[in-house]
């Protein structure tokens, strides 16, 4: 049993909070171990409110990077790094879980020299490695997330292998947080007895933000209904929050830039509802069991980052392009104009009155309800409307990835609809061809290691054959979207394959090919009609018996 567990999370606040179920799972499985969390300095306060963590170690990345200016001798950076490495909780690590999927975190993971590491790391020779297929999966969905059925919370939790831990988020609210919030309320003339609604108009990127005028309109409606309205945000969002207050023409109070992580939690705990873009504040509210209405625009994907818990509502534009693919700049953000203030107001009333079943929104808006069921599984349930083709595919992929990555039972039959079969068939045939080509190329590669004197040209030719089937895999992504998630997953693995030696390359490619075979077998099992397969055999057996 590991005695010293370290989790490395150089991520933003939202991701940090979404890792709570994973941290909880680590805590429950290793109740006697010391559980330390290494986070960026900015999120130290948030980390301190995670009840399952014994020690929080903050790394001031801004200071560290600024001392790495090309003009400076990196002695300052070395000192900073030494301080981190010499932290007593970071020595003799039995298990390190790296939740930050960057080269830097991989190198740091290896420098900490843990007995076991889960996540991106460097091996003894410095090769970049990812030893967890759920993290490979996470990397593979960065560019195309349409077919990702999992919320980040669930992916994180599955990284550690525990599929059954409760997915609900939790944050410890300290006494100080409550006091701070009370003082903040008093200082701004806010009453502790009136019902309060919080708005969070900012986000990490402008593309994710619902227009400020609509927040103002919404704030005005709430204020007219007698609610006390506060606008939240960090220091950089002060002007935005003040603009909401100004445009509302009501007594709407901006607390942006005035809250610490603690007092933000305290303020949210006093609220009836939070209306927000896709933000870390949404996750804090969810962890405090405050109802959230999340307006997910631009690249914000509810599937990936909706606040986890029950009865939060996610509003999205019902557009084929939504959400934007990650890191793609949109020149025409039509999604911003689809959701009007009236729709959000109506949704809010239904949430506050516990009458979501009465909610009627225009078809242009997609409303989904978050749900954590009795088994702790998280899902998004559409409020009204039929399942679309994409949603059917998502059910299928959910079952596929769980089977594939946990090497468990086959795909659940109810997830394999006729539409799914139709979409899969053409891609599957091409995938099988690629697999045959890859097998042949792999055999040639294996022969290389048994032949002592191969010409350079021959070696080069053999290695080029490997890149050929990988290119075909890449081409298939564009040609057949139904098999593209599997192709992307395999391609991430090829990128990570070690090319430092022939033996390493062979080992890594063998594993990839094994995945390819397994993936094809799993997909084929869904497409092939079992009755047509079994009937002749049954017939043959019957003949033999007679």
């Amino acid at each position: 049993m590991p005695r010293n567990i370290v989790v490395l999370s150089f991520t933003r606040m939202g991701d940090l909070i979404q890792s709570i179920p994973l941290l909880r799972s680590l805590r429950l499985r290793n109740s006697n171990a010391t559980l330390s969390l290494v986070v960026l300095k900015d999120f130290e306060e948030t980390a301190k409110r995670l009840p399952m963590i014994d020690h929080v170690i903050a790394f001031d990345v801004d200071r560290f990077v600024s001392s790495l200016d090309t003009r400076e001798n990196p002695v300052g950076a070395h000192a900073e790094l030494s301080r981190l490495l010499e932290n007593p909780y970071l020595s003799d690590i039995d298990l390190l879980v790296n939740l930050s999927h960057t080269r830097q975190s991989a190198t740091l993971s290896s420098l900490l020299n843990p007995a076991k590491c889960i996540g991106m790391h460097r091996d003894i020779e410095g090769n970049l490695r990812v030893n967890n297929d759920w993290i490979v999966y996470l990397l593979s969905i960065m560019e195309e997330r349409r077919f990702n059925p999992f919320n980040l919370v669930e992916i994180y939790r599955r990284i550690e292998g525990d599929a059954f831990v409760d997915l609900n988020l939790e944050l410890a609210l300290c006494w100080d947080d409550a006091v701070e919030a009370e003082q903040l309320f008093a200082a701004h003339g806010l009453s502790g007895n009136r019902e309060t609604i919080a708005l969070q108009p900012g986000a990490s990127h402008a593309a994710r933000c619902w227009p400020v005028e609509r927040y103002a309109e919404l704030a005005a409606r709430f204020a007219q209904d007698g609610f006390q309205v506060v606008v939240l945000g960090d220091e950089a969002e002060t002007k935005l929050a003040e603009r909401v207050s100004e445009l509302s023409n009501q007594n709407v109070v901006s607390l942006a830039g005035k809250t610490s992580v603690g007092s933000l939690s305290g303020v949210l705990a006093r609220c009836k509802l939070l209306v927000t873009n896709d933000t870390g504040t949404a996750h804090i509210a969810a962890a405090l069991k405050i109802p959230v209405i999340g307006i997910f625009l631009g690249p914000a994907s509810a599937k990936d980052t909706a606040p986890v818990g029950s009865d939060h509502v996610i509003l999205e534009a019902n557009l084929p392009c939504a959400p934007c693919d990650y890191m793609k700049a949109c020149a025409n953000p039509v999604c911003k104009s689809v959701i009007d203030a009236e729709a959000v107001y109506e949704t809010s009333k239904c949430v506050l009155d516990h009458k979501l079943y009465t909610l009627k929104l225009p078809d242009s808006i997609k409303a989904r309800l978050t749900r954590v069921d009795a088994e702790g599984q998280f899902s998004l349930q559409q409020i009204g409307g039929d399942k679309t083709s994409i949603e059917e595919s998502l059910d299928f992929y959910r079952s596929f990835w769980i089977s594939f990555l946990h090497q468990q039972r086959g795909i659940q039959e109810h997830c394999v609809t006729e539409r799914v079969k139709r979409e899969l068939s053409p891609g599957l045939s091409e995938l099988s061809d690629i697999c045959s080509a890859a097998d042949t190329a792999m055999n040639e590669l294996m022969r290389l290691s048994y032949t002592e004197s191969e010409s350079k040209a021959r070696v080069r030719e053999t290695l080029e054959r490997q890149t050929e089937w990988q290119s075909s895999l890449r081409a298939l992504i564009g040609n057949c979207s139904a098999v593209s998630p599997l192709c992307r997953f395999l391609l991430v693995k090829t990128v990570l394959a070690r090319t430092s030696s022939l033996l390493n390359y062979q080992t890594d490619l063998t594993e990839i090919l094994s995945d390819l075979h397994r993936g094809i077998a799993l997909l084929e099992s869904t497409v092939i009609d079992r009755n047509t397969l079994i009937a002749p055999i049954v017939g043959e057996l019957a003949c033999a018996e007679s």
Partner: protein, 615 residues
């Protein structure tokens, strides 16, 4: 040990320890060729040609000829030649012959032979194949572990020559010795200067000459020749007749060019961006440079009264250099510019030098009286009154009717820099009248001195120059320059000097000597950099940051593994984090802890640069 060798050792040994090692060294045998020239083998390797070691040594010196010449040209102080692995010392004689051929004062040179094999050095001293001369020769014995003896040689060596076979025999030891010596000397890191030129115009040569001078001074220089973009810039004229639209297009293109300069400066990690007047650097680009921690300097080699765009940009440069003083400096101060310095124009003696014109050049470019420049109002007016029949006017925009069609040469085309040198050298009297669009002859309030004054002087040519208030600070007006204050005085001086070749030569020679000693671009750049170092403390810190590796090792003293790792680096090439990171090979053997630390720093730094957090 016989007495004679002991005396030789005492007289040649560079230090006591070397002497001691030479005394103690074993004797090794030698052989001679038919001409009686000895050679020796050591550790199974012949150190010199057995056939003709003298010829071999001559070829060896020829190999280094260019390097030797370059040092001799730029080094006035005593020169130390460090000869690593001299073998029996044939190279000393060959070097001496080469220096004699170039009439170098041998007393200025010391040849320091550095030998890693005491046995070889002892044999060299026994045989003494070089002839004692004015050249001072010393022998120093070194070994890899030996660093104590080097401290006395910590001044920068002017010239380092590598011997042939002997050097190869102990290559690592010689390199370690050299690196150690450089460390002790604490060689400063040369500043990186990016010199973007203007797109066109009179300031363009100043940028080229600045870059060349800075290179000669030992700075790391990158010339960004923006003149190649001039045709694209001008192509706006072909697109539209609308002046306002042309202005917009040219403005956008200038913004693009300015951003290119910023991008290059950041990418190349420049310490200073050295701009001259009309270099396309916009206010926002200058702000970006400041934000990126890159210093910028402007040499405004224009008349501040005629070109006023300096007002917009001067406050954004870290340092401004001007060719005018007084009112200009007051106006800069009122704009909030604190770091401004007077830096007059200059000449580049590599471009403008005396030469005897060929008969063809004399026929084409020569005349008794000449002028090179554009046809400004005061010039046209003044020259129209000159009656001299042999008067050639070179340059553009001349009113031919007024000054005489036959005088304006080759249809008033622009002349190249090369041609100006030929004209100056082929003319008896070069008139140099500073331009003025309002005066009829000499501008009585003219202050700055134009580049032509220095260029004519650098050519050793004679000139009559109009009076300028700042001229007397730059030249002795009694002996070095002849000035006039009016058109009338000019005409009188032409009459006076037309037939006075001796007088002309006297002035020309003194003016040239003055330019070479005080008014070259190298002198200007030296002054400019000194001013910048004086007012920009972090630039000073950067220049004198000393040896990167030494500083780093001192800072990580407590970490033995790290110290051990860093000590394996080559101090000469390990000058930044990139250099250390480039030695890390992933997938090739175990990644050590120090390697991991430097890899991590490099990864975070690349990330910081990509995010624009650092530069």
């Amino acid at each position: 040990m016989n007495m004679q060798l002991s005396e030789i050792i005492n007289s040649y040994a560079a230090d006591i320890r070397s002497g001691q090692l030479l005394m103690e060294a074993a004797d090794i045998p030698h052989a001679s060729n038919p001409q009686g020239n000895p050679t020796v083998s050591f550790e199974g390797r012949r150190l010199h040609s057995a056939v003709d070691p003298l010829h071999e040594a001559r070829e060896w010196v020829e190999f280094y000829a260019e390097q030797i010449d370059a040092v001799l040209e730029h080094e006035n102080a005593p020169i130390i030649v460090l000869l690593l692995g001299p073998g029996l010392g044939y190279g000393i004689s060959a070097l001496e012959s080469y220096l004699r051929e170039r009439q170098v004062d041998l007393r200025l040179l010391t040849v320091q032979c550095v030998e890693a094999c005491p046995e070889v050095a002892k044999k060299a001293l026994q045989l003494c194949v070089w002839e004692p001369s004015l050249l001072k020769v010393t022998w120093q014995i070194v070994s890899e572990s030996d660093t104590s003896a080097n401290r006395q040689n910590s001044e920068r060596n002017s010239l380092v020559l590598h011997g042939t076979a002997d050097y190869q025999l102990r290559r690592n030891e010689y390199e370690a010795f050299l690196n150690n010596q450089r460390n002790v000397a604490g060689e400063s890191i040369p500043l990186r200067v990016l010199v973007p030129t203007p797109l066109y115009g009179g300031s363009l040569p100043a940028a080229y000459h600045s870059a060349s001078a800075l290179t000669h001074l030992g700075y790391e220089v990158e010339l960004m020749d923006m003149s190649k973009y001039y045709s694209q810039f001008e192509s706006a004229n072909d697109l539209t007749k609308s002046e306002s639209h042309r202005k917009v297009l040219k403005g956008l293109y200038t913004t693009y060019l300015a951003e290119s300069i910023v991008a290059r400066a950041i990418d190349w990690k420049a310490d200073i961006v050295w701009a001259v007047a009309q270099t396309p650097l916009t206010p926002s680009a200058l702000r970006e440079l400041t934000h990126a921690g890159i210093h910028s300097a402007l040499w405004f080699v224009e008349d501040f009264r005629l070109f006023e765009y300096w007002k917009e940009v001067a406050p954004l440069y870290d340092v401004v250099f001007t060719i005018q003083k007084g009112e200009f400096h007051e106006r800069l101060r009122s704009l909030g510019v604190h770091n401004y310095f007077y830096l007059p124009c200059a000449a580049n003696p590599e471009i403008h030098y005396p030469e005897n014109p060929t008969p063809q050049d004399r026929a084409r470019y020569g005349s008794q009286l000449s002028f090179v420049g554009a046809g400004y109002f005061n010039r046209a007016h003044t020259f129209a009154a000159i009656q001299n029949p042999d008067f050639k006017i070179w340059g553009n925009d001349w009113p031919s009717q007024q000054v005489g069609r036959h005088r304006v040469q080759e249809e008033g085309r622009r002349v190249s820099t090369d041609e100006t040198r030929r004209i100056f050298n082929s003319s008896s009297i070069n008139i140099n009248l500073h331009s003025s669009p309002v005066h009829t002859d000499v501008n009585p309030e003219g202050d700055f001195v134009n580049p032509r004054t220095f260029e004519i002087a650098a050519c050793g040519a004679f000139q009559l120059v109009d009076h300028r208030s700042l001229l007397s600070e730059l030249f002795d007006l009694e002996d070095e320059q002849v000035t006039f204050k009016s058109g009338e005085e000019l005409r009188s001086l032409i009459g006076k000097f037309s037939n006075d070749e001796v007088g002309r030569r006297k002035y020309a020679e003194r003016a040239r000597a003055r330019v070479l000693s005080d008014h070259t671009y190298e002198k200007r750049m030296e002054t400019a950099v000194n001013h910048m170092l004086a007012v920009l403390p972090d630039l000073r810190k950067r220049k004198h940051s000393g040896n990167f590796l030494e500083f780093l090792i001192a800072a990580v003293q407590d970490d033995a593994e790290m110290v051990e790792y860093l000590k394996r680096m080559n101090p000469a090439t390990t000058t930044d984090l990139d250099a250390i990171a480039s030695t890390i090979e992933l997938g090739k053997g175990k990644l050590s802890r120090p390697e991991g630390i430097f890899l991590l720093m490099k990864e975070f730094r690349d990330w910081g640069i990509e995010k624009g957090v650092i530069s």
